[in-house]
Symmetry: C2
Subunit: 203 residues, 2 copies
């Protein structure tokens, strides 16, 4: 088994943190996105979608999409459960995972892809007005997330889950478009600090 | 239990089709998005996120996000399995579900939200250049999906899954931005026709 990985993309970091929380070690194969290695003939024949991360199983099966890769490891090693426990618990992790993706992670990615000069090689055309709209969407959602986190320790409730990993990777990636968590959002800052202190955060 | 629903949004249709495939009946409560009922005081106190669909459980618990609602029903009634079977099967459904969302469903939604006059009340500002870019992204992905479907019956393999529901709702929603499946994409057309003939398609 081998995980094609990049230090550049927060999606790849989600998988590394997930594996660290599970205590699973998988050999990493770096792919240099800025050198467009993901568009090389070799990599394209592996993953026609040209996206990283990708998990290659020993029988040649390929899994792309960071959350699908995490789901695979959750299924083969259920503990610690990072997709929730019980019907309602699993649904709530799915809900918060998706809310954090749709309302935070994706708008941050769109801000970077459409607004950062280094991404011009990857995103064409870059649309400055869309980047500005997405940046505003991020700024608008942060206070809502702060309120959501006021009465609980983690994104989906009392237990750490993949939704927290998505949130951490999103918030940390805000440094690229230079968005800071406002000081008055104390619950959001507490959550971010707690996640950052976990050993998995350095994965 | 009650499902707040709308005929307008393909995300709400995903849940109705999922329930029909499971043979589960849930009372529906219509929400008129164009009258902005989702922003009313009543609805906002139910779901501060102001999004539809929302599932209200009998104990007052609220679940938003269409896939989270589907996940809840998968957990309480596992058969027929619509999120896949076994570790690899579940990961592959997750992968195709996400690819169909990220590469097809979301770009179609963005084309409509940013390009259709009726959505001006919901999406502000509407960005015509972003709509055009997303329309092109949809046109580019259709031939890729056609190739993916050449060697299998359903999106994630031999079994019908939630990924197919996502695909059907996406393709049908293309009528709003007037995107048609090109006639030469015979595998995509075969897949779409087969999904459309299932009784659940009318849900």
């Amino acid at each position: 088994m081998k995980l094609f990985d990049t230090k550049l993309a927060p999606n790849a970091r989600r998988v590394r943190i997930f594996l660290a929380e599970k205590g699973i070690s998988v050999p990493l194969e770096p792919v240099d996105l800025m050198k467009l290695e993901q568009r090389s003939e070799d990599f394209t024949s592996l993953n026609p979608d040209q996206k990283v991360p990708v998990l290659a199983l020993d029988d040649g099966t390929i899994l792309s999409e960071s959350v699908a890769i995490c789901r695979y490891f959750e299924e083969i090693q259920p503990e610690p459960a990072l997709f929730g426990r019980g019907a309602l618990g699993r649904a709530q992790v799915e809900m918060w995972q998706r809310r954090l993706e749709l309302e935070l992670f994706f708008p941050i990615m769109e801000t970077v892809r459409n607004g950062h000069p280094a991404w011009a090689v990857l995103e064409s055309p870059q649309l400055a007005d869309h980047a500005a709209k997405m940046r505003q969407r991020v700024l608008d959602v942060l206070p809502r997330l702060d309120r959501d986190l006021a009465d609980r320790e983690f994104a989906a409730g009392d237990a750490f889950s993949i939704a927290d990993i998505t949130g951490l990777c999103a918030l940390d990636f805000m440094r690229i478009p230079r968005i800071r968590i406002p000081d008055e959002l104390v619950h959001l800052k507490r959550w971010h600090a707690a996640l950052s202190e976990r050993p998995s955060a350095t994965a």
